[in-house]
Amino acid sequence: MSGRRVAAITRRLLQQFHRDRRTLALLFGAPLIILGLLGYLLRGGGDVPVMGVVNLDAGPLGAAIASQLERTKTVSASTMSEAAAESKLRSGDLAGYVLLQSDFSARAQQSRVISPQIHLEGSQPGLSQTIVQAVNESFAALVGQAGGVRFAPQVMFVYGGPSFDTLDYFGAAFIGLVVFFLVFVITIVAFLRERGQGTLERLMASPLRRGEIVLGYMLGFTVLALVQAVEVLAFCLLVLHVHNAGNVGLIFVLEGLMAIAAVNLGIFLSMFARTEFQAVQFIPLVILPQVLLSGIIFPISTEPGPLTVLSRALPLTYAVEGMRNIMIKGADLSWSSLQLDFGVVLGFCVLVIIAGILTLRRRIA
């Protein structure tokens, strides 16, 4: 083994990187951006789950528990009427509420069992868990004082249910994400390959219109993407048994829209990369921040304020929300929230198609 020859390879590699400023920026900049974002998400003082306390108890125990919950820092609890709590729960303004019945204190004294009703919105297991835990802790403090009292809450869900688990929650989002991500990567690399092998120049010197090139690409990849979407959906529903309360056709349409958006985003972004190597660099820059901010992992309602604004500007947020609306809540197109989700994803598709067509020419020069 020759140290000189090895050193020659090492030196050549560093020289190449020295000239590729973009790769260097990605290598040293992207980790800071991604980790910074993650840090801000987790420690940025985001909002805690919002819950209601409906205290109908005539006795002293209800008031004590309500006051205990309002002091808790893990949730943001406030007292309200049962009608208001139910309405806010349905609209998604509350992650849950606890109902203390009129005979709550009396039953606790007689049967030595505390059984409040916990109503959960249920579509986000993380938030539900925090609320149950907060209620549990506030009761534990009181049970500790009373001694010998058993805590047996009745938990009710608007969406999902006791068997609704983390996979059900993430599965709905991932069905769309997997298709979006893979189709994006394949398109951007294929389009760059078209340029690298010189065939794009031939296409541009032919009577093809720019729109025809983009549309042809879009249809070709969309066919593949839709087959992939069927496969992903079937696997999730039939093999993994991911919870689905909605219309399978609607899920497929939303998946299809995401695939079309991914194809055209790939075509558009290929303009900003010169090589397939540079194209792959778009993954951490474009995909990862969207994964962190689109509500797939961290609910947008609990994000720090400024990040919420950013999340609301990302199309993937609406796609993920749409998937969860359909699969977890059983939403159909009569729901205004789902109309918004479809509208934004569709609008994004149109936007990237136009951007792809308009910028195609610059890629040859």
Binding site: Q197, E201, R202, L203, M204, A205, S206, P207, R209, A365
Partner: protein, 239 residues
């Protein structure tokens, strides 16, 4: 468009890339049905000029007319065959699939077999391009611009890396096509190839230094060899 005298008219075309003037007032005319050789060293502006003819390069000044219409006209491009310097093909498609694709985007539904037979690749039509030799790829690339039977062929250094036998075959084919009425522009920096052209344009520094038949150019320079004529006319043009 039978009334067109010239297949290509380039008039005082200027194209700058930053501080570099790739085309610096280039002017030339290609008659219908002739093989016109664009002769010049590497970096002379040959490829930029050809790309301007198909609208891939937008000139900063001057005019480009192709088959009687301004360049980058889609109807005109349907009648043009542009063979790039690199054999730009889809490596994972067969030779026949490549030719059929380029024919289709030019609006042709027939002519694939004829084009592949013309370049003697019909027997290898089912082979994927990545398995073909360099010379075969060049021939396949040529077939891709022939299937739609263009009125104007633009061939950017089509014989680079091609063995001498194949080169002779290709030139015989170009001349047969020209005899059938196709106008052909071939760029090259190989002098012996240039001798096969009906007329030549000597290009350097983005300018046409001289234009004419081989005997005319030799006569203009007062030398017997085309290579010497090119050197002499280049020196005169640089002054």
């Amino acid at each position: 468009m039978a009334g067109e005298t010239y297949a290509v008219e380039v008039d005082r075309v200027v194209k700058r890339f930053g501080s570099l003037r790739a085309l610096d007032g280039a002017t030339l005319r290609i008659r219908r049905g002739e093989v016109y050789g664009l002769l010049g060293p590497n970096g002379a502006g040959k490829t930029t000029l050809i790309r301007a003819l198909v609208g891939l390069v937008v000139p900063d000044g001057g005019t480009v007319t192709v088959l009687g219409r301004p360049a980058r006209n889609l109807d005109v491009l349907a009648r043009v065959g542009y063979m790039t310097q690199q054999a730009a093909l889809y490596p994972d498609l067969s030779a026949e699939e490549n030719v059929a694709f380029f024919a289709a985007i030019h609006g042709a539904h027939h002519g694939v077999r004829e084009a592949l037979e013309f370049v003697e690749l019909w027997d290898r039509r089912g082979s994927v391009v990545s398995s073909l030799s360099g010379g075969m790829r060049t021939r396949c690339s040529l077939a891709c611009v022939l299937a739609h039977k263009p009125d104007l062929l633009l061939l950017d250094e089509p014989t680079v890396g091609v063995d001498p036998l194949l080169r002779v075959q290709l030139w015989n084919r170009f001349q047969r096509m020209a005899a059938d009425g196709t106008s052909i522009l071939v760029s090259s920096h190989v002098m012996d190839e240039a001798e096969r052209c009906d007329r030549l344009g000597l290009i350097r520094f983005g300018r046409l230094l001289a234009e004419g038949t081989v005997p005319e150019l030799k006569g203009k320079a007062g030398v017997d060899r085309l290579e010497d004529a090119f050197l002499k006319l280049s020196e005169a043009g640089a002054e």
